[in-house]
């Protein structure tokens, strides 16, 4: 199994980006990409086009007239914890902006083609391992800062101090009692500050950083606050399984969703 497998097709690469693979096939494709310059370049290209297209779609979208329909205004998307996977899911952020994409964004931000690809692929592999074992693994990105802290009293507030242009916040539940946080992709001006019952993310104004915060499953309340005044409260209470992950798209607005863990 040391030989790289046969070439990855475009369909394989899209499925990889979309986290559509079974763990075995995923590992197989990742092993190939790690060895193959053509495929890793193509992977990054597909992801980059996807991101660009998504941005264009977002900019080009027209809002519906609020008066149309069975007597109700459409509500803005909100995180609906009562119905985590039911038909009442709010508009989900594109999977192109999912976990893998956030990591790849770090690669793109560095403006390099191939050497960071290995780090990216290594991280994808660790995400895959996580899925297999159902437990979080340490990411091996070189550019990360990490802080640990106890989430006092079962409550935690994650506060983003300045308005971020873009980025993602991943909140993952673990069995551990301590919480930890790290910056997984950044332009260098971000800082994590631990306060009693709160974590402050101090970012530069034009920041597009992404963060990973791991919190104990025993936490019963989590608030995510943005400088722009938007906040979202998660009541965790009876504990979703470890590995459950919440993703928030940062920016002038905060959009949240529960990421599929498979």
């Amino acid at each position: 199994m040391n030989q790289p497998s046969h070439a990855a097709s475009d369909a394989d690469l899209v499925r990889l980006l979309d986290e559509e693979f079974e763990p075995e096939r995923r590992t197989e494709v990742l092993l190939h990409i790690q060895e193959c310059e053509a495929c890793s370049t193509r992977l990054i290209a597909l992801r980059e086009i996807g991101e660009r297209v998504q941005r264009a779609l977002d900019l080009a979208a027209i809002d519906p007239k609020p008066s149309v329909g069975p007597g109700a205004r459409p509500l803005p998307p909100v995180l609906d914890l009562d119905h985590p996977s039911s038909d009442a899911n709010p508009a989900q952020p594109s999977r192109a902006w999912g976990r893998a994409a956030a990591i790849l964004a770090a690669v793109a931000a560095l403006g390099l083609a191939l050497s960071p690809v290995r780090a990216f692929v290594a991280d994808l592999m660790s995400v895959g391992d996580r899925a297999i074992r159902g437990a979080p693994a340490e990411p091996d990105l070189t550019r990360n800062s990490r802080v640990s802290f106890a989430a006092a009293g079962g409550e935690l507030t994650i506060r983003v101090r300045s308005i971020q242009r873009a980025g993602s916040l991943f909140v993952r539940l673990t069995e551990a009692e301590r919480a930890s946080a790290r910056i997984v992709s950044s332009q260098g001006s971000e800082e994590l500050v631990v306060l009693p019952s709160a974590l402050e993310i101090v970012s530069g104004e034009a920041s597009t950083a992404s963060y990973l915060v791991e919190v104990p499953r025993s936490l019963n309340r989590l608030v995510v606050e943005l400088q722009s005044g938007i906040d979202t409260t998660l009541w965790l209470g009876a504990g979703p399984p470890p590995g459950t992950e919440y993703q928030f798209s940062l920016g002038p607005v905060l959009e949240g969703a529960i990421a599929d863990e498979r």
């Binding site: 097709s9 475009d10 369909a11 394989d12 690469l13 899209v14 499925r15 979309d18 559509e20 597909l46 086009i49 996807g50 660009r52 297209v53 998504q54 941005r55 264009a56 779609l57 900019l59 080009a60 979208a61 027209i62 809002d63 519906p64 007239k65 149309v68 329909g69 069975p70 007597g71 109700a72 205004r73 459409p74 509500l75 998307p77 609906d80 039911s86 038909d87 009442a88 899911n89 709010p90 508009a91 989900q92 952020p93 594109s94 999977r95 192109a96 969703a257 599929d260």
Partner: protein, 165 residues
């Protein structure tokens, strides 16, 4: 089934999807109305994924209106630069937005219907299985459709590289 709750949850995104699919906001309004009407009258047997069901119905409704394809093309020209949303306070931003809309509409128009469906459903976060169901195709071919449409869009929207950066 609480249709009103479902409507509130999915109306906006379904409209957005149908608008991109049809290229015509009026058609999109009709399609969304029809889809919810159908939900009320003939709800799906399996109700665990109504969202996916709604998108599939909307996809089919758009497909049923293939005659509108030519009208859509005509609209592309007609509406060039005319439909900037009234909510932009900065006229320059409005102009830029109108240009982007025009560009996006044309780019989407260059895709085959299946490619467009796959791409737009993906952008709404649907799994490949759900996209395949909506298209009546295999999961394996969804990735190919998406990659192909991304390549086409990349050619059609080169100038987007500069926007918003």
């Amino acid at each position: 089934m609480n249709v009103e709750r479902l409507f509130r949850a999915h109306y906006a995104e379904l409209f957005r999807y149908s608008n991109f699919m049809s290229g015509d906001p009026d058609v999109a309004h009709d399609i969304v109305q029809d889809a919810f009407m159908r939900l009320q009258e003939r709800p799906p047997k399996h109700q665990e994924n109504v969202r996916s069901w709604l998108f599939t119905v909307a996809t089919n409704l758009v497909r049923d209106r293939t005659k509108l394809e030519s009208r859509r093309r005509a609209l592309l020209e007609e509406r060039r630069g005319l439909d900037a949303s009234g909510t932009d306070s900065d006229p320059l931003a409005s102009l830029e937005r109108a240009e982007i809309r025009d560009l996006v509409r044309k780019a989407l128009g260059s895709l085959r219907p299946k490619e467009r469906t796959a791409l737009l459903m993906r952008s709404h976060g649907f799994a490949h299985r759900e996209i395949a169901d909506a298209l009546g195709t295999t999961t394996a071919s969804v990735g190919t459709l998406i990659a192909r449409s991304l390549d086409k869009l990349s050619l059609a929207m080169p100038s987007l590289r500069e926007h918003r950066e």
